[in-house]
């Protein structure tokens, strides 16, 4: 229970500040609705919100899986081939210099208004962090392991699978944790550009009709979804890392 206490206090504090701003500023509720109104709107629209949340959730999950797989494969390719590094690495960096947001309209044009343009956005936005952190891990294998492998006449392939990839898994895990935060952003950007479903669409719709309370309700739902997703990925990866290194949470505390 004490683990959640700080989070609870922070939430109460944020809601209080929010309410104080609403009360003191006297802004009309279509500009800034108070927490009570947003909660009420959320409850009365829970079925609609749930439906759109589900859509966004599916987009994010598919995007996460595809993005993580593509990112991991790219990283392995880059780490094992000098040619791939020469050809692909500059391109990867260049794509990061482009705002992914700018690609959303063209993706919608290519892939349509449905699910896949949003999945593609999520994939695009998480591809780089996954690739780059896993690649870094693969290139930073402790040199002693590689020396040892060399004296054992290991083939490059077995060094990759038995030493380099396992020792880079913690880096992959940190890439995945970042991806869990970015993926919902990607999906929602896709929904803004053109969609008939999803939390991003709902936010845009509510905003256009001056239903600011519904916009806030949808936005907070998105926030909670992202936090839960991040928490789930974090818990899973931390557990994985613990069994990987043979260190338990207790051992870390010692």
């Amino acid at each position: 229970m004490t683990r959640y206490l700080p989070a609870l206090i922070a939430t109460v504090f944020a809601v209080t500040v929010w309410q104080a701003i609403v009360s003191l500023s006297g802004l009309p509720k279509f500009i800034l609705p108070g927490p009570a109104l947003v909660a009420e709107t959320w409850w009365t629209n829970r079925a609609v919100i749930a439906e759109h949340t589900w859509i966004t959730f599916i987009e994010v999950m598919i995007g996460l899986v595809i993005g993580a797989l593509l990112g991991a494969l790219t990283a392995i390719q880059l780490a094992t081939s000098r040619l791939a590094r020469m050809l692909v690495q500059p391109m990867l960096v260049f794509t990061q210099a482009l705002p992914v947001f700018a690609l959303a309209p063209i993706l919608t044009l290519w892939l349509g208004y449905g699910l896949w343009s949003k999945v593609a956005m999520a994939v695009l936005i998480i591809y780089f962090p996954v690739t780059s952190s896993f690649f870094d891990g693969l290139m930073r294998t402790p040199p002693g392991y590689l020396d040892l492998a060399k004296t054992m006449q290991a083939t490059p392939r077995s060094v990759l699978w038995k030493i380099r990839i396992p020792s880079a898994l913690p880096s992959l895990a940190s890439g995945l944790r970042l991806a869990a935060v970015y993926a919902p952003i990607g999906a929602v950007i896709g929904e803004w550009v053109g969609a008939s479903k999803g939390l991003g669409y709902l936010m845009l719709l509510a905003n256009g009709r001056a239903k600011t309370d519904l916009m806030f309700a949808a936005m907070l739902t998105l926030g909670v979804l992202s936090i839960l997703l991040h928490w789930a990925v974090r818990t899973a990866t931390v557990r994985l890392e613990e069994s990987h290194s043979g260190r338990s949470r207790m051992a870390n505390k010692l």
Binding site: D147, L148, M152, Q153, A154, S158, L169, H244
Partner: protein
């Protein structure tokens, strides 16, 4: 197993044109321990790494050969100061790493026998994080022995251990590596005095062959002649570092 060969090292190494060590020649007598003693940065690890054909960052010119004329690199086993145990692998998987990396069939009986000899039978399925420093280094020793090579290259393998664990490891290594051609690189005069059949002190001036105590290695930690040798070696190291 064939008899361990003599290894001869002759040559010089330079980094970016500046000599790391002058032309020198070192021979590792067959089936014996040669201790290469020297301060940090004198290039003693470079010699070991050159024999193992590991990256040194130095340009080497010279020759490394075995007395039976066969190539050297694929008959060495290597053990470093860090235990280099894979943290995600169990003790058994770490000890059999060489076979796993070469895709060979693993010799379970040999694994069990070796773990028995380094007194780790009860820890076979533990991960390295669950072991003490001394136990981890014993796993590394078992992994080195599992390779079944004639030439063993030890790069300060005991220097991170506390004094009594280090002495235990020295005894164990001397016992288990009997009959192999061993190169032990160390900065510890006591270690060289205890273990060396031959002791070479390395300095920027080159190699100096030193007398070894008359008792058979591994010598007792309180053997008087061994302690005198240790003192003489330290004195020589200090003189040569000026």
């Amino acid at each position: 197993m064939t008899a361990a060969p003599e290894i001869t090292f002759a040559g010089q190494a330079a980094i970016d044109g500046a000599a790391l060590f002058a032309p020198l020649s070192l021979s590792l007598r067959p089936g014996q321990w040669t201790c290469l003693l020297g301060g940090s940065g004198v290039g003693k690890s470079t010699i070991l790494r050159l024999i193992a054909e590991l990256d040194t960052g130095a340009a080497f010119s010279g020759e490394i050969s075995a007395s039976d004329g066969k190539p050297v690199q694929d008959r060495v086993a290597y053990m470093a100061q860090e235990d280099l145990l894979l943290p995600w692998a169990t003790v058994a998987q770490n000890v059999t790493l060489g076979a796993r990396l070469r895709g060979e069939k693993q010799d379970g009986a040999r694994l069990a026998a070796l773990l028995g000899r380094v007194r780790l039978t009860d820890h076979i399925s533990k991960k390295p994080a669950e072991l003490s420093g001394g136990q981890r280094q014993r796993v590394a020793l078992a992994r080195t022995l599992m390779e079944d090579k004639d030439v063993i290259l030890l790069d300060e393998p005991f220097s991170a251990l506390d004094a009594q664990t280090r002495a235990d490891m020295q005894d164990l290594a001397a016992e288990l590596l009997q009959g192999k051609t061993v190169l032990l690189v160390t900065h510890d005069p006591a270690e060289a005095a205890r273990l060396g059949h031959a002791i070479e002190v390395m300095s920027p001036l080159g190699l100096t062959a030193c007398a070894t105590p008359s008792a058979p290695a591994p010598r007792s930690v309180d053997d008087r002649e061994t302690l005198e040798t240790q003192g003489a070696l330290l004195k020589l190291l200090r003189e040569q570092s000026v």
